[in-house]
Each structure stands twice: as C-alpha cells, then as structure tokens.
C-alpha cells in the first residue's frame, strides 16, 4: 500500500501552537489520535472536510498545512 503523495506540516504547526499534542489535535478536529498519527506519517490522506478542520485549528489556510507532491501538479 503506497503512502499518500500529500505532504503536511501538522507536526511543525502543533509545536508552534503551544506544543499541542496529537490527542489534543485529534479531539479538536473530531478524529482519533491514530488518524492524526497516520496523517503526520503520510500513511493517510484526510478528506477535504478534515483537512479544512485541521487548517482551522491552526488558523492557517489548507495549503499551509498540506502540499501535493504528485508529479505534474
């Protein structure tokens, strides 16, 4: 199972926002801690809705949280 081509800045943003834990972020966006771990590790690409919720927690745009590394994009 190939990891997603979406890169993210969630770990950096967590630390920049009061050293938020994965559990705290998970509770804030309505996901499980395991899902946050999988997203940070690039093993799971979140839905558009979850991506916007994550960006909302950090008060940044979605593009500041996720970047597409797929070729040709």
């Amino acid at each position: 199972m190939a990891p997603t081509s979406i890169r993210n800045q969630i770990r950096r943003l967590r630390f920049e926002n009061g050293e938020m834990t994965q559990q705290q972020l998970a509770e804030a966006v309505g996901a499980t801690r395991q899902t946050i771990i999988a997203i940070e590790a690039g093993k799971y690409a979140p839905s558009l809705e979850l991506a916007f919720r994550l960006a909302g927690v950090f008060r940044v745009g979605v593009e500041d949280v996720f970047q597409n590394e797929a070729p040709g994009v």
């Binding site: 199972m1 990891p3 499980t32 801690r33 395991q34």
Partner: protein, 164 residues
Amino acid sequence: MSKQERVSWVSLIVTLAIGGWYFSRVLGLPADADLHFPLARFVTQLVVLAVVISIAGEIALRLVERVAGQTPDDSPADERDAQISLKATRNAHGVLGLGVVVVLVQIAQLERLRRPADSPSTVLEALGAGPLTPLLVAQLLLLALTLAALTAHVSRIVYYRRGC
C-alpha cells in the same frame, strides 16, 4: 493501537481459532456421518468458544499495550476507520464471490464426473469425490464465508499498519 484495530486483531484470532477448530472437526468426520447432530452440538460449542476467546483476546491486547507503555485508544470510529472498513469489506466481498463460484463449479464438475465406485472415508474426501449433498454444499459455503471474514480482518490490519 486504535480500538477498531484492536477489534480487528481479536476478530482475526477468533475466526482463525473457531474456523480452524470447526473445519478440523467436521472435515475429519466419516463420509457417511449424519452432520445434523454434530452441527447442532458444534454451533453451541462455537458460540461459547467465540465469547471466551473474544474476552481473552481483548484483555491480552490491552495488557500488551500497557506493558509497552501505550495508552489504549478507545475513541469512536472516524473517517479513516470508515474508509478502512469499506476497503476491507470490498476485499471480503471479492473473496466470497470467488468462493461461491468455486463451489458452483465444484458441484457442476462432480455431477458431470460422477464416480459411483469411489468410497470416500471422510467428509473432506467426499467434498472432492461427489456427488455433493446439501449439507456438504453448506460446508463449502461456510468455508467460503470463513475465508471472506479472514480476508476482511487481515485487510483491516494491513491498512491500519501500512496505511490506505
């Protein structure tokens, strides 16, 4: 480990244990055995076995997590869990469909190549010698269902571990 992954591990262990136990018993029965009574007794034993193994498996996995210094995650299922469940169910559906086709082909083949002189000694041999009785067909379909369930559990575990 998430709650859903833990459930998948327990379900895999339960299915392997019960499926292995059931088919090792039934397939070893004499070919002319009346399967009605053994089946009724097996089902009762299977239910008890399933409950015991499920509880023991859950306790064991929680103990392993605590020994490893992890806090068990009992959060409710989210979108990732739903996606993994959907993909695992799709895989299981494919295996079940393939199993049913194999059973239908087996029935047709054994009817066409009927060999009355063959005297199978066990249920397993009877499945390969034919003709297939309704109870024997039921065993094959049950095997297909068991393999489909195993496929679903293994798929979930792989997707949780390696990503989807």
